[in-house]
């Protein structure tokens, strides 16, 4: 019997059944898997990762290096310390040799987040944390306390999060804490409650009461099952009512282990001896103490059966035991302090790194600050002939011999030793091994531990599942899906969608059995020969008001807007100061002091911020105000030679003739349905086209009106793929596809859009020597001479007769590539060095392992005369 008859924070009236490594066991509410295993007399877990050595439960908290579980469930989870997994009825787990298994089953559990603010956040619910929380709460401020144990008895006015581990501490007291909400309930966990919750806590002040971790001692055979941290032995006694062994030897270099001795004796457990490394021991306990001595070996094939001790006189003595409680001193848990660049100092008396002051707006209390820790005599390793079983990092199977091999190889820095040996890199992140390793290094190099210093502490303090970091932002909620007012129609009519930024845009509308090529060919024919309709609502839209609006646009766009007449529209290009294309779109002049600017679908927010930056920081004297109206308007592009017939049904009050309503103008009207509309003669295809803008409340209705009016002409809805083919045939660029931040308007074949009459942002860069080079990459068309190869976008272009021994000089690359239904052949747009002077030349495109001859052609392949835009 290792469960004590009384004591501990467990509920003995309820029995929980569970299985570990195939053994059916029982425990009680309040147990961890580790405490329940110990209560069943089991200390052994799976053998070590590399050396296959027997290992056992060594700690009682997050620092456990050996007892790692794979826990069964709807989605099995691995690498969970048995010392932190709360027992529930029906739990099934197996112990692991340092490697978990990823379950390929989708995890059905819910994970979420919570964002809260507090005046004071206390991390840790031990005596120091509770005291700090109570003191803060007494002043009337908001206080939160997080603690990783199941229950904390805090003052009523403190918000307590139990089963919660603060894993990361970030700038300005932003702390992430993981709450385990339902794991302890097993199959009784409610389905609609998140399994784990990641708390995002912004605190005015953070109080770290994170305590200290005990270190093991480094001696031959120190890894056997039954070697346990003395503090853990005490925790199992007092918190769980479990005696981890029946006959105990204690090995220590400080007084803390004597608390364990007293509690063991009180519980009726035999303590065979205390092996104390210190010569001068003055402790009043009724047990045999061997001062100035050390454990030099352990016995037993699996669980420890005895220890060999070298006494202060130099002789050896053996003790039978089934538990060796070890204490090599204590390390304050400074992780959250150090994550914030908090400084540490080496304390020779405590033999520990302790915080050297606190981070701004933080305080460190209790053992985390070094307060209350025990004076310790450094004992980094027990001398021996061989150091091959002096384990430093149990989880990585790293011994003193391994550490010295690395220092012998010239690794003089702890970070280098860490990477050479893998010490401290396991999922316990060296909580019990880190400082011992530094001591061993110091021993080898002859320096002081404080000079060597620690490795860098990084979040998370304990492992956290990616699912918890993702929260609800997965699956359908992964990222916002922006939709237009017409979206339901697209869905209903079988559109396939393409992501453009966060927008869902129809890609194409396949009819029965059509693949993308067939659907796009049909959509293109409709737009070129009949009438087609596209939802263009995703374009960014900004209203610009003010007496200086024209002047402002003159400075922002490469071309002129100041003298644009009301009722007229103009395509514009904007550049960054380096002269590279940044965005483009058509702008309408609504009246003398009002413009309506459109941006690319993905560029809307960036353009508005850009405009505001100039207005607020450089030209505050301009009378200009910008307002984003992207979603105010639904925009329906009616495209093709029959578009006039369709629009005339919708807008009977308008004279749609080319003379009365010329290209690049717009009209305000009221549709036959009574809906107010602004109709623009704008074309992104070269065909006669009208863009109908209405309040997005009416977007779906007016789209349906267009569709109904177009049925006699077999009106065809089309998506982004057809839009791309049509625009590329005309040589119209897509910013971000045909440009990449290194393309000037001249490079893109738009010198005509660059004013020579006025200054604008980027203008000065066009005369920089690099920008004025004649061999810059310029946008041109490419026609594969076989008339059939569709070049993959990104294809590299090289000269025809170039030597193919690498490195082969690259002339450029394909930016857009499609099959042209109108031309009956594939074509591409490409950025090619001095491309505009190569028209007619044949170059080679590198496709897979083939070289495909391509002819360089003018950027505009379809209707270069522009004869089709008026219908």
């Amino acid at each position: 019997m290792t469960r004590l008859p009384h004591g501990g924070r467990i509920d003995r009236s309820t029995v929980l059944r569970f299985t570990v490594d195939g053994r059916e066991l029982t425990g009680h509410p309040g147990d961890t898997v580790a405490s329940a295993m110990l209560a069943n007399g089991i200390i052994e877990v799976a053998p070590s990762i590399y050396r296959d050595r027997p290992r056992g439960i060594m700690a009682a908290g997050v620092e456990e290096p050996n007892a790692l579980l794979q826990v069964d469930g709807p989605c099995s989870e691995g690498m969970l310390p048995a010392t932190t997994v709360e027992l529930y009825d029906g739990l099934v787990a197996s112990t692991l040799s340092g490697k978990g298994r990823l379950d390929p089953t989708p995890d059905p559990a819910v994970y979420d987040k919570k964002f809260v603010h507090t005046d004071v956040l206390v991390v840790g619910g031990g005596p120091a944390g509770l005291k700090a929380a109570a003191e803060a709460a007494a002043t009337g401020v908001r206080v939160m306390l997080v603690d990783d144990q199941p229950s904390v008895e805090a003052p009523a006015d403190v918000v307590v999060l139990s089963r919660t581990t603060a894993i990361g501490s970030y700038d300005d007291n932003y702390v992430l804490a993981l709450e385990r909400r339902t794991d302890h309930l097993g199959s009784a966990a409610p389905q609609n409650v998140s399994r784990q919750r990641l708390w995002h806590i912004r605190a005015g002040k953070v109080v770290l009461a994170t305590g200290a971790h005990e270190r093991p001692l480094v001696f031959a055979g120190n890894d056997k099952p039954g070697v346990m941290l003395a503090g853990a032995v005490r925790t199992y006694l007092n918190r769980y009512g479990v005696a981890a062994g029946s006959r105990v030897v204690v090995f220590t270099n400080n007084d803390s282990a004597y608390d364990t001795v007293r509690d063991l004796l009180d519980a009726g457990v035999e303590v065979a001896a205390v092996v104390d490394a210190r010569s001068d021991v003055s402790v009043d306990v009724d047990v045999r103490i061997l001062p100035g001595s050390a454990v030099i070996g352990t016995e037993g094939d699996d669980r420890i059966t005895g220890v060999i001790v070298r006494t202060s006189e130099g002789g050896t003595v053996s003790f039978e035991c089934d538990l060796l409680a070890v204490s090599g001193g204590w390390s304050p848990v400074v992780h959250l302090h150090s994550q914030r660049q908090g400084k540490l100092r080496w304390d020779d008396e405590l033999v520990a790194f302790v915080p050297d002051g606190a981070v701004r707006n933080q305080e460190i209390v209790g053992m985390a600050s070094g307060e209350g820790l025990w004076p310790t005599q450094a004992l980094w390793l027990v001398p021996a002939d061989s150091y091959d079983t002096h384990f430093v990092d149990l989880q990585r199977d790293v011994t003193v011999a391994d550490v010295w091999r690395s220092t012998g190889a010239g690794m003089l820095n702890v970070e280098h030793v860490k990477r050479y040996t893998s010490l401290g890199t396991a999922n316990d992140q060296g909580k019990t091994s880190g400082v011992n390793a530094i001591g061993v290094i110091a021993h080898a190099l002859g320096g002081s531990v404080g000079e060597i210093g620690t490795t860098t502490y990084r979040a998370p303090y304990t492992p956290v599942a990616f699912a918890a970091l993702a929260g609800r932002e997965r699956g359908d909620l992964f990222d916002p899906e922006r939709t237009t007012s017409i979206h339901p129609w697209h869905v209903e009519h079988g559109a396939l969608f393409e992501d453009v930024g966060q927008w869902k845009r129809p890609w194409y509308f396949p009819r029965d059995g059509e693949d993308i090529d067939a659907a796009v060919a049909r959509e293109c024919r409709a737009a070129r020969n009949g009438v087609a309709v596209m939802d263009a609502s995703t374009l960014g839209k900004i209203e610009i008001w003010g007496a200086d609006a024209g002047e402002f646009l003159n400075r922002i766009y490469t071309n002129a807007f100041k003298k644009l007449k009301p009722g007229h529209a103009r395509y514009g290009v904007m550049c960054k100061p380096d002269g590279m294309i940044f965005d483009d779109g058509v702008t309408l002049r609504l009246d003398d002091n009002r413009f309506f600017l459109t941006t690319t679908t993905g560029g809307a927010a960036g353009v508005l911020d850009w405009l505001e930056e100039w207005l607020q920081t450089e030209w505050p004297e301009l009378d200009v105000h910008c307002t984003s109206v992207t979603e105010q308007w639904a925009t329906i592009a009616v495209v093709g030679p029959r578009s006039r017939d369709v629009v005339s049904v919708l807008a009977p009050d308008l004279d749609l003739s080319a003379e009365a309503f010329p290209f690049m103008t717009f009209r305000e009207t009221t549709l036959a349905s009574g809906v107010p509309a602004r109709i623009c003669r704008i074309s992104f295809s070269g065909e006669l086209a009208y863009e109908i803008n209405v309040s997005s409340w009416y977007g779906l209705s007016v789209w349906e009106q267009v569709y109904e009016a177009g049925l006699p002409y077999d009106i065809t809805p089309y998506g982004t793929e057809t839009m791309h083919v049509l625009r590329a045939e005309k040589g119209y660029i897509i910013v971000g596809q045909d440009t990449d931040g290194t393309v000037t308007p001249h490079d893109a074949g738009m010198a005509w859009a660059v004013s020579k009459q006025k200054d604008f942002v980027g203008n000065r860069s066009f005369s920089r020597s690099d920008t004025a080079r004649g061999d810059r990459k310029q946008l041109i068309s490419l026609l594969p001479t076989d008339g059939s190869t569709r070049l993959p976008e990104g294809t590299q272009i090289i000269a025809r007769d170039v030597d193919l021994t690498p490195p082969v000089p690259m002339l450029g690359h394909v930016t857009s590539s499609y099959h042209s239904e109108a031309l009956g052949r594939p074509f591409a747009l490409a950025l090619v060095a001095a491309g505009q002077s190569r028209i007619g030349e044949t170059l080679m495109a590198h496709v897979g392992s083939e070289l495909v001859p391509v002819q360089v052609a003018d950027l505009v392949l379809y209707d270069p005369e522009g004869s089709r835009r008026d219908g």
Binding site: H117, V193, L477, P480, T484, G546, A547, T630, G674, S696
Partner: protein, 175 residues
């Protein structure tokens, strides 16, 4: 003509505690904060600080920035009145009624739902009825207005409305 309108969330089956308030008039106003003509047209003072709102009957004015406000009303006439009041003055009054929609979240757990994704401090000590701020709920930018102890109104861009509604319904499922 009202039958031709369709609100961004017309297709959503709302659980108790969540509803769309569609088709309200909204005007984005940019003007000098001391404009008397605009305040006269509004019939209410322009709020001068982040978080503040001014109310007059069905009309509420929200502070968006030091020279920017959102005017909310039941009737569309306010837009023309503001444009007229601005005549000859620097500024803008743009109809943005369809640019956003309004989602009302109410119930004893309303704050808990929002705290699953809103980085602003919504604790009663920091935020309360009558206050409104621009922030994010989940990954969606919104104007967030607390109208009662347990009632909030969220103004997302129309294109984000469907995602936000799904996000909120998901977040509410715990309660």
């Amino acid at each position: 003509m009202a039958d031709l309108r369709r609100s961004p969330l017309a297709h959503v089956q709302f659980p108790a505690g969540l509803a769309e308030l569609p088709f309200r008039t909204m005007v984005n106003l940019r003007v000098d904060p001391s404009s008397e003509r605009v305040e006269k047209a509004l019939g209410v003072a322009l709020p001068q600080q982040c978080g503040q709102t001014s109310v007059s009957g069905a009309r509420t004015v929200f502070w968006l920035g030091p020279d920017e406000w959102l005017v909310l009303d039941d009737e569309p006439g306010i837009h023309a009145e503001l444009v007229e009041a601005l005549a000859g003055e620097s500024g803008s009054a743009v109809d943005v009624s369809a640019n956003r929609t309004i989602v009302e979240l109410s119930g004893p757990f309303a704050r808990d739902v929002l705290e699953k994704g809103c980085p602003v401090d919504l604790h009663p000590r920091a935020f309360g009825p009558g206050q409104a701020v621009q922030t994010t709920v989940g990954p969606v930018p919104v104007l967030l207005w607390q109208v009662g102890d347990e009632t909030y109104r969220l103004f997302p861009r129309s294109s984000f409305a469907d995602y936000l509604a799904r996000w909120l319904i998901d977040a509410m499922s715990e309660y």
